[in-house]
Structures are given as C-alpha cells and as structure tokens.
C-alpha cells in the first residue's frame, strides 16, 4: 500500500509504565497516576478506553447472565419482574454505550494516528476529557441500581411514556447518557480533524487504510446523531420533571414522537457500531491472505452508502406503531436497499481471500468467523425489513437473535480480531496462539448455541423483555442459558490471554509479526514507542 523511509521512524523504545528520561523532549514523561489522569498520548488514552470497555463488557455480561438464570425455567425463581426489567435495560445501555462504542474509540485512538503517520490526535487534551467522562458515566449507570426504585427499567430504548413512571435511576441514566454523548461527539471531532489534516505527505484519502475510512465516516455519523439522542432524553427529562408534554397526547404531544427522535439516532447508531468493525476486518483479511484488499474504492463507496442510507430508514423499528401504508412501504424499500452495499463488502472480502495464500492465526479466525456469522445477522435483518414479516416478529426473540448476531458475532468478534492482530504492537509480545484459537472456537460455538435457538422462539411468538414464558419455550431457553454461561466464561479466557501477553510470557514481537500485513503501524517497533512519527514519514 505505501512505503516509509527508515530514518523517519522514532528512535527509542518505550514499554508501558517503564521509567525513563528524554533528552529531546521539553517535558518529563509523567509517571504513576498522573500519567493516566492527565494522559494526552493517543496510545495511553487508547489503552484506557480498551480497559474501560472490557470492564463494562464484563458488567453488561454479568447482567445478561442474571437474566438468563431467571429464564432457565418458566416461572419466577430469583427476581421480581421489576428487577428483571432493570437488568434487561442496563444490560443494553452498558453494552452499547459502555462496551462496544468505547472499545472502537480505543482502537481509533491507538491505530488511526499511526496508520496515517501522525504523531498524535489533533486535540490531545480534549482526547483526555473525552475518555475521563466515561468512567464517571459508567459509575452513574452502575450506581443507579442502588437508588430508591432501582435502575431504570424501560428497556435500553427508553420509550415514553413508560419512562415517566421510573424513579431517580432514570435521571441518573439520562445524565450518564449525556456525558457519554458528549464524549463521543468530542472524540469524533478529534478523529475527523486528525484524519483530514494530519495525514503524512503522500497519503491521499484513497491511500488511507480502510480502518481510517470507516472511522472517518463513523465520526461524521456520531456528530450528526448524538445530539439527536441528547434531545430525545432531554425531552424525557423535562416531561418527567418540568411540566412539558412532548410525549403526552393530552398535552398535544405524541408518544410516537419519542420513537421517531430516538430511532433517528438509533438507526445510525447501529451502523456506528459496525462500520469500524468492517474496517478492522478489511485490515486483517488482506494481511492473512497475503493479497491486497479487493475493490478498495468500492469498499469506500459502500461504506459511505451504508452511512447515508442509515439516516433514512429509522422507522423500520416502528412498523407496529400504525404508520400509514405509504410510510410502511417507503421504510421497507429503503431498508432493503442497505443490503446491497453490505453484500458488496462481503463479496469483496471473499474475493480478497480468493487465490490468496492464507494462514489462520487467531485474528484471521475471528475475521473469517465474523464474515460468516455477521452475514447470518444481515440476512435476518433483510427478513425483518419485510414489513409483513416484521408484524409477526417485532418485539420477539427473532429481533433479539438478529441484533446479537450483528453486534456480538459482528462488532465484538471484530474487536477480538483487532485485539489479537494489534496486541503485539501494543505490548511487544506475542499472545499465546493456542489459547487464542481455543478462545475463538469456544466463543464461536457457544455464541451460536446461545442465540441460534432465539430465531425459532421469535418465529413461534416468544416476546422480548419477558421475565416468564409459556412452558412450550422451555427447551430453547435452557439451551440459550447454557450457551450464555459458556460464552461468558470464554471471555475470562480472553482476559487471561491478554494479561499473559502483557506480562511478557510470549515471544517478543517483531515490528511486523504478520508477514502479509501492510500499513505504517508495522514500520515502528513493537511495542510501539511512546511517541511515533514525530517526523511525518514520506508515503509513496
């Protein structure tokens, strides 16, 4: 893709937390807690985002296991339904806003500056603030369980007017979401400015790694829609406490207005959570096929088309609200259209693999696995876009199956792939390849055991957000619960693999441990020095 002159690469090697002094810097590198609290280095901030998101993944995952424990048998064994609904809601909020989104931002922070040959992000101090808002927001969400009335129990989608009945936990969640939204907006501004202004000479936009493209487009989506979410939840806040009636028909408002505003954010939001995943997979497949990415330009256009289309399909989440027939038809057609650019991307990945020379280390296993299971999720999405079918399966487990296929087998598997791919660059050691493969197969199989039966349950009419169910669904629920525990335990193996690598228990990593990999990040040593590309490289 592009080459770099060797004398441009930064000289000394830094590990994490190592003591050292610089002669050629105007400041001393901070140590101890100051290094992290006042961090302005994109690598440190990336690391913090990743640690935070993994902690949130474990918290959100625990909530899911509590749900699945209650659902192991019909009847209420462990939790009152009010508490069950709190778990359901917080599982969604924590996973979406605490785990998936910050994880992708962590990847952006670590990799975008290195991939474009920039020394850091454009706004290093704003970057620090963007991160530190998140632990506060995470603490607010967690603490909301312990106030009178508990955490909000209205579902992660927080529909009005049910949200008007929630206790102070709802207000805490609103505040937390405002903080997370602000964090995302600032982070996105940072990414856009960095990518547009700080690419190394010779790196045109169409020479950029696709991961940078997907993040550039995602950042625009975030800037466009996070304020819309902020508006929706603020209107809920004022309806709750300040006498407004936005979602109250008696006051001239409309509960469905909330849904329109929320989903205008909500649909681009799900593309925000998948586009960076596409970027990661588009880096890994060519590397392990030892062949250039097929159709780079089409991949860029397809990503842009998906992003633009994502703005005009929101009401496919609202097919059961009673839209006029024209609305129903329009949103059905527009949604079906998104399958085309998405299909193009899948074909391009397969064409990249075709006639390559492939090896299947863990990053490639997760990337190929992603294509397989994400496509299943994509097809159930196409089926859901058919409004008549949606009438039967809306708000059932079919939808739960669909979005877990695209978010877990999609986004999360891509995050795993990227972690294994770039971990040697981050910590300087190879991870345990055998354990990595075990993590892959364990996750892949247990994921399908958990979520595949949910398609059947949804088609049979099992509603979502139910604490109890008709006995005819028992077998599938039990299979799902067993799969869920297995999947959860598999992630503890992942944690072990990472800690083991950081502890230096593997072989030291070369600058480019993957012989087919391309990109500026592989021209710097592993672990990447604290400062890289202080002088921009020449890109041919």
């Amino acid at each position: 893709m592009s080459s770099v002159t060797p004398d441009q690469v930064s000289g000394h090697s830094h590990g994490h937390g190592h003591d050292h002094a610089h002669d050629d810097h105007a400041h001393h590198m901070p140590h101890g807690w100051r290094r992290w609290l006042f961090a302005t280095n994109h690598k440190d901030i990336g690391t913090m985002y990743l640690i935070f998101s993994f902690a949130m993944l474990l918290e959100g995952g625990t909530l899911a296991l509590l749900l699945r424990t209650e659902l192991f048998q019909p009847g209420l064994q462990f939790f009152r339904p009010e508490l069950f609904n709190q778990f359901t809601t917080m599982h969604g909020l924590i996973m979406v806003f605490g785990a998936i989104m910050p994880a992708f931002v962590g990847f952006a922070n670590w990799m975008v500056p290195m991939q474009i040959g920039a020394a850091d992000m454009a706004f290093a101090r704003m970057n620090n603030f963007s991160f530190w808002l998140l632990p506060v927001a995470g603490a607010l969400l967690t603490a909301s369980f312990f106030v009178p009335g508990g955490a909000t129990a209205a579902g992660w989608t927080l529909y009005a007017p049910l949200t008007l009945q929630m206790g102070p936990g709802m207000d805490m969640a609103i505040f937390a979401m405002h903080l997370m939204g602000a964090s995302s907006i600032m982070g996105s501004i940072n990414i856009v400015v960095t990518i547009l202004n700080m690419r190394a000479p010779g790196m045109t936009l169409m020479k950029m790694p696709l991961f940078c493209w997907t993040w550039l487009i995602t950042a625009y989506l975030l800037i466009a829609v996070m304020p819309v979410l902020a508006a929706a939840i603020t209107m809920v806040l004022t309806d709750r406490h300040f006498g407004t009636g936005f979602f109250n028909a008696a006051a001239g408002g409309d509960p469905v207005l909330y849904q329109h505003i929320f989903w205008f954010f909500g649909h681009p939001e799900v593309y925000i959570m998948i586009l960076p995943a596409f970027g990661i997979v588009s880096a890994i497949i060519p590397a392990f096929a030892r062949k250039p990415l097929f159709g780079y330009a089409s991949m860029v256009y397809a990503t842009a088309s998906i992003a633009i289309l994502s703005f005009i399909v929101w009401a496919h989440h609202m097919f059961a609200t009673g839209m006029p027939v024209t609305g129903q038809l329009y949103f059905m057609y527009a949604t079906m259209l998104i399958s085309i650019p998405t299909g193009v991307k899948v074909f391009n990945w397969v064409a990249t693999m075709w006639k390559g020379s492939m090896t299947f280390e863990t990053p490639m296993l997760f990337a190929v696995g992603f294509i397989f299971v994400f496509t299943i999720g994509g097809f159930t999405g196409l089926i859901l876009s058919m409004a008549p079918i949606d009438i039967q399966v809306h708000d059932t487990y079919y939808v739960v199956a669909h979005f877990h296929y695209v978010l877990v087998a999609g986004s999360l598997f891509a995050l795993f792939a990227g972690t294994y791919y770039w971990l040697p660059k981050w910590c300087g050691y190879m991870y345990d390849e055998k354990l990595g493969k075990v993590h892959f197969w364990s996750s892949m199989i247990s994921f399908n055991v958990t979520f595949f039966p949910m398609h059947f349950m949804g088609l049979a009419g099992m509603p979502r957000r139910y604490a109890d169910y008709a006995a005819q669904f028992t077998d599938f629920h039990q299979i799902a619960t067993i799969g869920a525990f297995w999947f959860g335990l598999s992630q503890l193996l992942f944690l072990y693999i990472i800690l083991k690598a950081y502890a230096g228990k593997g072989a030291p990593a070369a600058a480019k441990p993957w012989d087919g990999a391309e990109g500026l990040e592989w021209t710097v040593p592993s672990p990447a020095p604290f400062h890289t590309f202080e002088t921009p490289p020449e890109v041919k």
């Binding site: 209205a154 529909y159 009945q165 397969v350 064409a351 006639k355 492939m358 097809f379 509603p463 669904f473």
Partner: protein, 385 residues
Amino acid sequence: MKKVKGLLGACAMLLCGVVGAQVKDMPGGPRVNQLNLPDGVTQIAKDIAWLHWFMLIVCMVIFIAVFSVMFYSIWAHRKSRGAKAATFHEHLGVEVAWTVIPFVIVIAMALPATRTVVAMKDTSGADITVKVTGYQWKWGYEYIDGPSAGVKFLSNLATPRAQIEGKEPRGPLYLMEVDNPLVVPVGKKIRISVTGGDVIHSWMVPELAVKQDAIPGFIRNVWFRAEKVGEFRGQCTELCGKDHAFMPIVVKVVSEQDYATWSAEQKKLLAAAADDPNKEWAAADLIARGEKVYAANCVACHQGSGKGVVGAFPALDGSKIVLGPKADQIQILLKGKQGTAMAAFGGQLNDVEIASVISFTRASWTNAGKGQDPVVLPADVKAAR
C-alpha cells in the same frame, strides 16, 4: 455425606417432577419447540408464512453459494497447501454484476411484500369493530357495533400467582389464559381499534397475524378475518412495566350463531351487573364490595397488607391521603397520578366500585376507626367526576 446425598436426591426428584410433567402443544398458542411462524387461521397469516419461506429460501441459497466459495477458498488457497497469492485487486465487470444482481433480487422480494402490506393496512368495510385498550396490566374490550354493541369488559390473566411462583404445578395454558376472552364470529372482517390507557402496550395474536401498538391518546386500526373457529392466544409485545409478561390475549372465534347467543347473554349480564344508581348503600355492604374490587385491581401494587412496596408503590395502611379528606383520595382514583403506575381508574371502574374500594381502604388494616370520612358514597364519586 449422607445429608448431601439426601439433599441431592431430593433436588433430583423435584427437578424430574417439574421437568417430567410432559408439556404439550398449546391449543391456539405456541407448539412445543416450534421452529417456524404459525400458518395461522387468516389469509394474511398464510401470506406472511409464505413470504417468510420465500425470503428464507432465497437467503439460504445465496448464503450457501457465497460460503461454499469462501470455504472452498479456505481449503484450496491456504499457504500450507502451497498456494501462491495472486495480486489482482479489482474487476469492474464482476463488481458491477454483484451490485446489480442483488438489486434485482431485492426488487423481486419487494413485490409480494408490497401486496401484503397494502392488504394489511386496508381496514375498510369491517363487519364488526372492537375497541381494545391496553392497561397496566390487562386488556379492555369494548364492542362498538354489531350484535354486541355496548358490551364492555376487562380481560385479566387467569393463571394463578401460585403457579408463577412455582408453588403449584403449571397448567396447560400457563400465562396465556384469561378470565374474559374477546369473542368474535368466524369469517367476518373484524376491525380492532387499539389504544393505550397509560403507557404503550401492543396487542399481538400470532395465529391471526395481528400486532398493533396500543398508544395512549391515539387509536390505530388493524383487522383480521378468522377462517376457523377456535381459541387463539397472544401476548403483550411492548414493554409496559413490571407485569408486561402477565397480560395475555385470548380471541375466541365462534360460529355466527354462537356469537349471536353470546352477544345476547352479554347484554343481559351488562344490564344486571350495572349498578343501580339509585340504590342506598349500607357501609358494611360497600366495604364488602370494596374488598372484591381491591383484590381485582389494587393488590398487585399496594399488596394485600396495604403496605405497598418500598420505593415503588406507596402504602395505603397509614397513608395521609387515605386518612384525610375524601376529596383527595377520590381524585387520585379518578385521575390517577401522573408519572407513576397509578392508573386513572375513573375510566375503568364505576362510581359504586370506586366508592366501595375507597371505603374498604379507610376501614382496613390500622386505618380502621381513624381519620376523616370513613365511608365514601357512590354519589360522592359521581359528583367529583
């Protein structure tokens, strides 16, 4: 060790007893381990089932084609087999083809779907219209026209709480049975006008292929024409609070003759049950009536002890409002309490029921003999409306 063995043995037997009770397909509801949509008893349901098979087959064919190519490549083009990497990275013809062909396929999918959407939205020319209201946590049915015009009742979950809590074995219609089903005649176009009484609910019956969100302040119409008699079961499909899973729907489709008989019965019952507005109520009678109303409408939140649930539902025992002037308590029952789950019962209960349940709360628990206005009369409630 013996104790542990004994305990494990007991658990095993318990599990067997619970699990071994053979679960059968639910008539009008889900089959055991059902894999697919129900064929249903309406033409629309059959159309949707067909559409789903069509989509599933097309998607599966494409899926198998694409992933056969991918898995072949994984096998044939691996480095360990000596594969050498090619260098091609674009091909205009192929890229145009795999954009245009899926586009054509998508259009082919959209055509039958369009027909069904248009049919589902055409609620004109209905034989009978029923207004359905979603409440926390039950459904209300009101016949607008036809032989049952004016018939109005609530439909509550009939499964006893003891079954839900595992104190009794589960019945065959667990969680999908009600006290008063919606009764409609077979072969007629039934228009369902759905609205919400408090928060958004959703009225779904898979066998009829009907789902419509119940939105407070708005009425949205759907329709069905059942082609077979029988009882068909559905559930609420929009999160509506704690008992979201406990407000099912049962639609009983009967022959026209049976429907006419049922309508006549209902009208008679309505007249009989209608409380005589001129009746003079004695305090003891009112309180006895109030106890029944409380058990049917209030106990879920305020509890049998009147102590409510800390942090969620206020206690009535010792409550300032219950012990204070009657006007305040009457207002809360009639209008509900904004921002809470306390519904506006003015729309659901009549003057006698409201007056009796207020009197019951004022005469129960530690409230007995204390506070102002111990008895509230139906006339008081009527005046306050």
